[in-house]
């Protein structure tokens, strides 16, 4: 059996990659993908814990997370399309009208 | 209904607020003025029984009202007066209607807002003197901030915004310290906000010292004591006349009242420990205020600095911690409220006619406006403490008190009094007897033309100054009534201070 630590380590790595992606990359699409990565790392955690704890809550939670991630991306892409229509840019650094 | 069943203090406190609410529904400026006057006069009349049926044999709080207010936080609606606050309440209601009369013609824009501000202000001021619950006290204390800020900032003189903001920031800084002090004493004094209960506790010396300093700075800003006095001249000069009268007459008394009501009885050890430094600060304030007053050419600024000097007498008297000193201090609080308010009213009256406050522009008062000159003379004499006026009684008592403590204080006080006489006489001479053929201001024709527009005081102004004169002479000739009212409370205050643990102070 694969030890729990491996799963947690994998999820931690994915989480860190996701966080770094959001913070370091400037392309809005890539940032959205990194957000997905974070949520997937969470799912791995939940499922792994659920398996080792022999408790269904974790899997239940993972299914909800997947659903919500889909909604989030749908909304985010919708907003992104509106933004691109007005601004013609995918770069987060160009979003600089609001500051202070 | 017997008098005991009437909630006098609540009525006196909240009648002005009611008046302010009524004013909201009126538009006609004339009606607004009359209603404001009616309300303030009614308030004055209702406050008279507080003095007349006051039991002078006891130091206990009288006219006490106590209701649960915010049980979750253990806050009560708790009002009551002792001899000292009863006098202050009376002074406040007296000044109240005088302020309305003074602003009768002087305020022409936004009259409604002005009268509402004055009335709200009066409610807050009376509330401060009556509150026996710390949170209630703080609420009233802070409620004064908003209307006064507006009075200075909206209806003020040239640099009104600067002065209003300066006033606001100074006062706010004081309030913050006050709030911190209140919270600290709540915590140390058994989790209650009731002032009489908090007075009975004994606190450790370190705690007393810290709290005393926090309270002292908060109140010293209000007094204002040297070196926290710099907001006062600005605020006075730029405030409208009524604003100056409220400031000098009542607001400054809040500081000394706070010292009497909270600092001295609650922190007796710290009071004795800090008494000498405070007396020295007071002497500095007396001399410094007097010197600065001597150098002013702006009449209002001169009186403002004289306030710093006179309030120095008050704080000095209080911290002598003997009967003569404290009685003199409290009486001088009342006197200063009368005399300085009267002087500010005089400035307002002459300013309305000439649109200048520069002393060098006057000099014709005795000849052209003789009645005005007589009144100004009376108040000038009261201000310098001439025998027969109220100022004399207060100052002589403080002198007696000072002699009992240390003769050196007396020397400084005498110097202060001499300088006081100097600047007051300088002012009076400049206004009344200066060379009376000064060139008229540009654009107003010959001197005679200019003078022909300047009338002597009208009946309204006569009434204002007349009332002040009555008190000047009354206290000057027969102060016993006023001394009797405060007597028991002052005695009690001295016992409270003397309960200090002298060994712990000696150990420092």
């Amino acid at each position: 059996m694969i030890p729990l630590t491996w799963f947690v380590a994998l999820s931690a790595i994915l989480f860190i990659i996701g966080i770094s992606g959001v913070l370091l990359r400037r392309n809005l699409i890539v940032m959205l993908m990194s957000l997905e990565l974070i949520l997937n790392s969470v799912n791995i955690n939940f499922v792994a814990f659920s398996y080792y704890l022999e408790d269904m809550t974790g899997q239940l939670f993972a299914i909800f997370t997947i659903t919500i991630a889909a909604c989030e991306v749908a909304v985010a892409l919708g907003i992104l399309i509106a933004l691109v229509k007005n601004r013609r840019t995918f770069n987060a650094d160009d979003l600089d009208t609001l500051k202070g | 209904m017997s008098p005991e069943n009437i909630n006098f203090l609540t009525i006196v406190t909240f009648l002005p607020l009611l008046g302010a609410i009524v004013l909201l529904f009126f538009k006609d400026v004339r009606k607004i003025r009359w209603i404001a006057l009616a309300v303030t006069v009614a308030d004055f009349v209702i406050s008279i029984p507080v003095l007349t049926s006051f039991d002078i044999t006891t130091h206990h709080m009288q006219f006490v009202e106590k209701y649960t207010w915010i049980p979750t936080l253990n806050i009560n609606y708790y009002m009551g007066v002792d001899g000292i606050s009863a006098l202050m309440v009376f002074l406040t209601t007296l000044i109240g209607w005088v302020c309305v009369l003074v602003s009768w013609k002087a305020i022409e824009v936004k009259v409604k807002e002005f009268m509402i501000s004055i009335l709200v202000m009066q409610m807050a001021m009376i509330g401060v003197f009556c509150a026996l619950d710390f949170v209630l006290f703080y609420l009233f204390w802070e409620a004064m901030l908003i209307p006064m800020y507006l009075i200075i900032g909206v209806w003020g003189g040239k640099r009104r915004i600067y002065s209003a903001v300066k006033f606001f920031l100074y006062t706010l800084a004081g309030s913050i310290l006050l709030l911190i002090g209140i919270i600290a004493i709540y915590y140390a004094g058994g989790k209650t906000f009731e002032i009489p209960l908090l007075m009975e506790q004994h606190y450790s010396f370190t705690f007393q010292a810290y709290c005393f300093v926090a309270f002292f700075i908060a109140f010293a800003i209000k007094v204002p004591m040297f070196p926290f006095h710099t907001w006062l001249p600005d605020a006075h000069v730029d405030a409208p006349t009524a604003g100056s009268i409220i400031l000098a007459g009542i607001l400054l008394k809040m500081g000394t009242y706070g010292l009497i009501r909270f600092s001295m009885p609650m922190f007796p050890d710290a009071t004795i420990y800090f008494a000498t430094p405070i007396i020295i600060l007071s002497i500095v304030a007396i001399l410094y205020g007097a010197f600065l007053a001597l150098a002013q050419t702006d009449m209002k600024k001169l009186i403002a600095y004289s306030s710093v000097s006179h309030m120095g007498f008050v704080t000095l008297g209080l911290f002598l911690l003997n009967k003569h000193g404290i009685e003199g201090g409290v009486l001088q609080m009342f006197n200063h409220g009368i005399t300085t308010s009267a002087l500010f009213a005089c400035v307002g009256i002459i300013y309305e006619r000439t649109h200048t406050r520069d002393l060098r522009q006057y000099g014709w008062a005795a000849k052209h406006v003789p009645i005005y000159a007589v009144f100004l003379f009376i108040f000038s004499m009261a201000s310098l403490g001439f025998p027969g006026t109220n100022g004399f009684i207060g100052e002589i008592k403080i002198l007696f008190g000072a002699y009992d403590v240390h003769y050196a204080y007396v020397i400084f006080l005498i110097i202060g009094i001499v300088f006081g006489a100097a600047y007051v006489l300088k002012m009076y001479e400049n206004v009344a007897f200066g060379s009376n053929l000064k060139p008229a201001p540009e654009g107003s024709g010959t001197f005679e033309d200019y003078m022909s527009h300047i009338k002597d005081i009208n009946p309204r102004e006569f009434l204002i100054l007349g009332v002040f004169t009555v008190f000047v002479v009354w206290i000057g000739l027969k102060p016993t009534l006023f001394l009797d009212i405060m007597g028991a409370s002052v005695d009690h205050l001295i016992t409270q201070v003397n309960a200090a643990d002298l060994t712990s102070i000696a150990a420092r």
Binding site: V22, G58, L98 | T72, I176
Partner: protein
């Protein structure tokens, strides 16, 4: 996990949520039959739905606290009070929007009200959630419609930009929060709040897994309440969003986030108090000072209120730091008061915004008092209340929080926060100064909208009444906090 038994009692307990959620769906359909120029009808219907839900909540609150839906959902006085706050926030937002959205020239105005109701459903789920899953779902159900609402003025680049920034940082914070939840689940084996508390008590608090989980969960929640240094989405989102939605975010979303935070920290993470208290102290002190100092330099009033809301979040967090029933009660009270203060402020902003561009800048308030006395007085009272000067409700809210802190002996923290209040007074007073003591440049042409007038009137009355007589509501809040 408990066995799933579905009973009628479970359904009655969530009637208010059902009313709001179903009405949202129905409104989408009703909208199809309403003419473009009469879309206000949809708004009024939404208000009606919220009022029905409110009646339902009041009826349920009179019953004793009970947990339903297999321990996922709790109906108690605490949730009822927060729901009342949220209803007021939502109703007033809709009232403020009726005229405003029309004047902004926004299309699809019917869906707008439906989205507010969806967001409200989410907020209600947060305040009643007894399980991290419910609370998480509530947070997302609240956030998704608000993302859309922030970007509702589709043609405005600032609105788009605000929405984009908000959605990215919002999703980011949800991710962090979820990772924390997953670690806590791994440590305790449950997502039920009571279960977590029991799990932590049983297994001890000195595991790095737990510490890390609590840390991430705290960070996620601080993002949601916009606490420093996790506040950066707030100023942009506040400034770019339509003003009515800014108000909704400032009152609804914030109150809901605090409802969730208090429940999570007090019910589930109580045994790990030491782990999160230190973080919250840093966040609270940072928020108070950063928010209030940065607000001083702002020129846009919406942005200024955003920074002020960061400061207020700091004050409210102090109640959590106290960690007592009084602390929780003070947060309930503060959020209630804060709702009225902020809605009033945004109401005035909306009144000023007739011609595009006017009303958003602080300088636009120059000389407002000259010809618009009533509006100026309203703004004056609200500004003093936000600054926490008595006798307004803002003071009582802060005072209660300070008292809760002091009862726990945290005097230094109380003193620090009082000092930050003084800094805050600075920029609120500046608006009063501009309104009353400067001469206006040009005429003011205020919007005439009775719905906004009603909102302002009620807000002012609430601010004064709660400032002078807060006893009754405080008592309720205390009772609610004790039951929880």
């Amino acid at each position: 996990m408990q066995e799933l038994v579905f009973s009628i009692a479970d359904v009655t307990a969530v009637v208010p949520e059902i009313i709001v959620g179903v009405s949202a769906c129905l409104l989408l359909m009703v909208d199809l039959f309403v003419k473009e120029e009469r879309k206000e009808i949809v708004g009024w219907l939404a208000i009606l739905a919220i009022i029905f839900a409110g009646v339902g909540t009041v009826c349920l609150a009179s019953v004793e606290a009970r947990t339903v839906m297999a321990g996922m959902y709790v109906v108690d006085l605490y949730s009822a009070l927060f729901k009342m706050t949220l209803y007021i926030g939502a109703i007033f937002t809709i009232l403020l929007s009726l005229n405003y959205m029309k004047s902004e020239g926004v299309e699809y105005r019917g869906e707008y009200y439906a989205l507010i109701l969806f967001a409200l459903t989410g907020m209600m789920c947060i305040s009643s959630g007894a399980d991290l899953l419910t609370i998480y779902l509530g947070i997302e159900l609240m956030a998704l419609p608000i993302y859309v609402l922030v970007g509702y003025i589709k043609k405005s680049p600032t609105s788009n930009e605000a929405a984009m920034k908000y959605v990215i940082l919002g999703a980011f914070s949800s991710g962090i929060l979820l990772y924390g939840v997953s670690l806590i689940y791994g440590y305790t084996g449950t997502t039920n709040l009571a279960g977590i508390a029991a799990g932590i008590t049983a297994s001890g608090t000195d595991s790095p897994v737990l510490t890390f989980g609590v840390l991430l969960l705290t960070v996620g929640l601080c993002f949601k309440v916009a606490g420093f240094p996790f506040h950066m989405w707030a100023p942009d989102a506040y400034e770019g969003a339509p003003t009515s939605i800014t108000a909704f975010m400032a009152v609804g979303a914030k109150a809901a986030a605090f409802a969730g935070a208090v429940r999570i920290f007090m019910a589930a993470l109580e045994p790990a108090f030491a782990d999160w208290q230190a973080i919250l102290i840093i966040v609270a002190v940072g928020s108070m000072f950063y928010g209030n100092i940065t607000a001083i330099t702002q020129t846009n009033i919406k942005r200024m209120l955003a920074y002020s809301s960061i400061g207020h979040a700091g004050y409210a967090l102090l109640g959590l730091i106290a960690g007592t029933a009084d602390g929780a009660a003070s947060i309930i009270f503060y959020m209630f008061v804060y709702t009225f203060m902020n809605l009033g402020a945004f109401g005035v902003i909306i009144l000023l915004r007739k011609c595009t561009g006017k009303g958003d800048m602080i300088d636009d308030y120059r000389g407002l008092a000259k010809n618009n006395r009533l509006v100026a007085v309203v703004m004056l009272i609200i500004m003093f209340s936000l600054a926490g000067i008595p006798p307004t409700a803002g003071f009582m809210g802060k005072f209660y929080i300070f008292m809760a802190l002091i009862d726990q002996g945290m005097i230094t923290l109380a003193v620090v926060s009082i000092v930050s209040t003084a800094i805050a007074a600075f920029f609120y007073i500046r608006i009063v100064l501009l309104m009353y003591m400067k001469e206006p440049e040009g005429e003011f042409d205020l919007v005439k909208s009775y719905s906004v007038y009603y909102v302002l009137a009620i807000c002012i009355m609430a601010v004064i009444v709660l400032g002078v007589y807060p006893g009754a509501f405080m008592h309720l809040a205390k009772a609610a906090a004790i039951i929880m």
